[in-house]
Amino acid sequence: MRLYSSGLLWLVLWHGLSVQAADLLNASYDVSREFYKELNPAFIQYWKEKTGETIAINQSHGGSSKQARAVVDGLEADVITMNRSADIDILADKAKLIPANWQSRLPNNSVATASPTVFLVRKGNPKHIKEWEDLVRSGVEVIIANPKTSGNGKYSYLAAWGSVTQKGGSAASAQQFVTNLFKHVPVLDAGGRGATTTFAQRALGDVLVTFENEVQLIQQEFGEDKFEAVYPSITVLAENPVALVDKVVDKKGTRKAAQAYLDFHFSAQGQAIAAKHYLRPQVVDTHTTFKKVNTFTVKQAFGSWADAEKTHFNDGGIFDQIVQK
């Protein structure tokens, strides 16, 4: 019995000690896994060449709001990399883990990469979907992630809304359109990856509305011959901000490495890796050809994420009203 318990203690200690102080933890959103699988080794090598230090970067992925919540609750992430700034704002608002002006600390408002929200349809585009209006034709089923729980879903919703207002339509007609759109959504998955699985693996729906990088990845994973990407004439640009979690890095003593890791996102090498994963580089021209697409940001169309959140997604907001109808 004594042998057993001392052995157990040893096991736990060993496991605990294997977490070195120099390790970084990146809390990220759902569909950035493939990007970080390539970016992290590149940074680790860069950091070793520059400083001689060997570090490890651990990844935690999940729905963006859920991940932000975990960091607020004490998940010791050195950096947080999200698909919308609102999920980083709550670290400042709710837990005072970072200063409120976090966006101004890195180039381009801390936005390293971006991806427009586009459509994925089945091969041959049997329902002839080209534009936002085509999504609400009778007999078309649309797969969108739940705007209540996922950044991906929020962007899809705001893209549909903006497709009306950015062309000069009124808020009332935008609401009419979005209400109509969600009548064509058979299931609301909790996260972007769940929506992909529903569309690609379970073969539900005629069109998937999601980020361009996810659309490209699906074609890569499931084969070019099964799906086609469709770019509407206007859509939202999902901006992916990154931030240092000050309280955590100061406690762990990892500020230098964490800062360098974030800077690496904005370097030529980091931006090139992003482009390889179909994330549009925002600060360095990597000479990658992305399809030209007419986009608006959340800030341009809705003032700010906080405003969009309040009007559309808070309890009793417009999204709640339209799904209840």
Partner: protein, 297 residues
């Protein structure tokens, strides 16, 4: 066994009654049951292994010996290795107190032990976030003392202990109650110490029930998803247990690897099932032996 005439007669009537239905009803019901079991148990079971081996043995082996998968297995084993002995000790103590003594609040205690069965695992996880999270009751204090509970191994162990809490006690209480306390009283009268009595009288009497409870505890500890998911933080290679690792692989389009790890959990379930059946069989045999002993005396 010396069954009396009337007992034999009763048994005969019972056996005839059970088979007095028309043939088509009997076979119809059997077919229905077999079809149901095949559809809902055997086919999914087979599907796990077919999917796991879809891309061949090399992919299967690679998925299992991948670093993150190994660390997930390791963590699962650690969580079970801590949760099971603790719940074993607790379960015996609680069952002993409840079955052999009368005291105020006994029913309340039983209800309390059952609580983890009644509470959804997600809530079980959130309880710990509310207590030990940064915004929780002890959050500040834990940070000041540099103690990590949730989003680390201790939180996962705590959540596992919580959800497996009732199994051993629930298994032992009815057994101990049925056995009464005469044997223990006899041991004490004959001069045995408390510990000696526990070791030589109480535990041997409930041996099979105890093992059964431990098997169930272990199966649940290794398979728990909901509560552990809430407190894990999903850091790959550090705080992912096997069930969480399966979900991650699945979400990464890594279906073959996801099912490879899932097949290990399924194997664990099958081993549990075999052990459980063996223990039930042993328990039934020892019960029959006891009965015979009673009749013979």
């Amino acid at each position: 066994m010396h069954a009396t005439q009337s007992q034999q007669y009763a048994a005969k009537i019972a056996s005839r009654r059970a088979t007095s239905e028309p043939v088509w009803v009997r076979y119809g019901l059997i077919t229905l049951t077999v079809a149901f079991l095949t559809l809902f148990l055997l086919v999914p079971l087979a599907a796990v292994f077919t999917e796991a081996l879809r891309k061949g043995w090399s992919v299967y082996i690679a998925a299992i010996f991948e670093a993150d998968a190994l660390s997930a297995m390791w963590l699962t084993l650690i969580a079970a290795a801590i949760a099971v002995p603790l719940n074993l000790v607790f379960g015996v103590a609680a069952a002993w107190a409840i079955a052999k003594f009368d005291f105020k609040g006994k029913h309340f205690l039983i209800t309390l032990i059952d609580l983890p069965f009644a509470v959804s695992p997600v809530i079980a996880g959130l309880i710990y976030v509310l207590m030990f999270g940064l915004q929780g009751w002890f959050g500040e204090w834990l940070i000041d003392h540099d103690i990590k509970v949730i989003f680390a191994v201790p939180g996962i162990v705590l959540a596992t202990i919580f959800v497996t809490f009732p199994f051993v006690a629930r298994e032992l209480i009815p057994l101990m109650q049925a056995q009464g306390k005469e044997e223990e009283e006899a041991a004490l009268v004959l001069g045995a110490s408390g510990l000696k009595m526990l070791w030589h009288v109480t535990l041997p009497n409930v041996k099979w029930g105890l093992i059964y409870g431990v098997i169930l505890t272990n199966a649940r500890a290794m398979g728990e998803f909901g509560a552990v998911s809430v407190v894990s933080g999903h850091i790959r290679g550090l705080t992912n247990t096997m069930p969480l690792h399966v979900e991650i692989l699945y979400n990464e389009y890594n279906y073959a690897a996801a099912f490879a790890v899932a097949s290990l959990l399924t194997l664990l379930a099958l081993v549990t099932l075999v052990l459980k059946t063996y223990v039930e069989w042993q328990a039934a045999r020892s019960a029959v032996r006891n009965e015979e002993g009673v009749i013979a005396s």
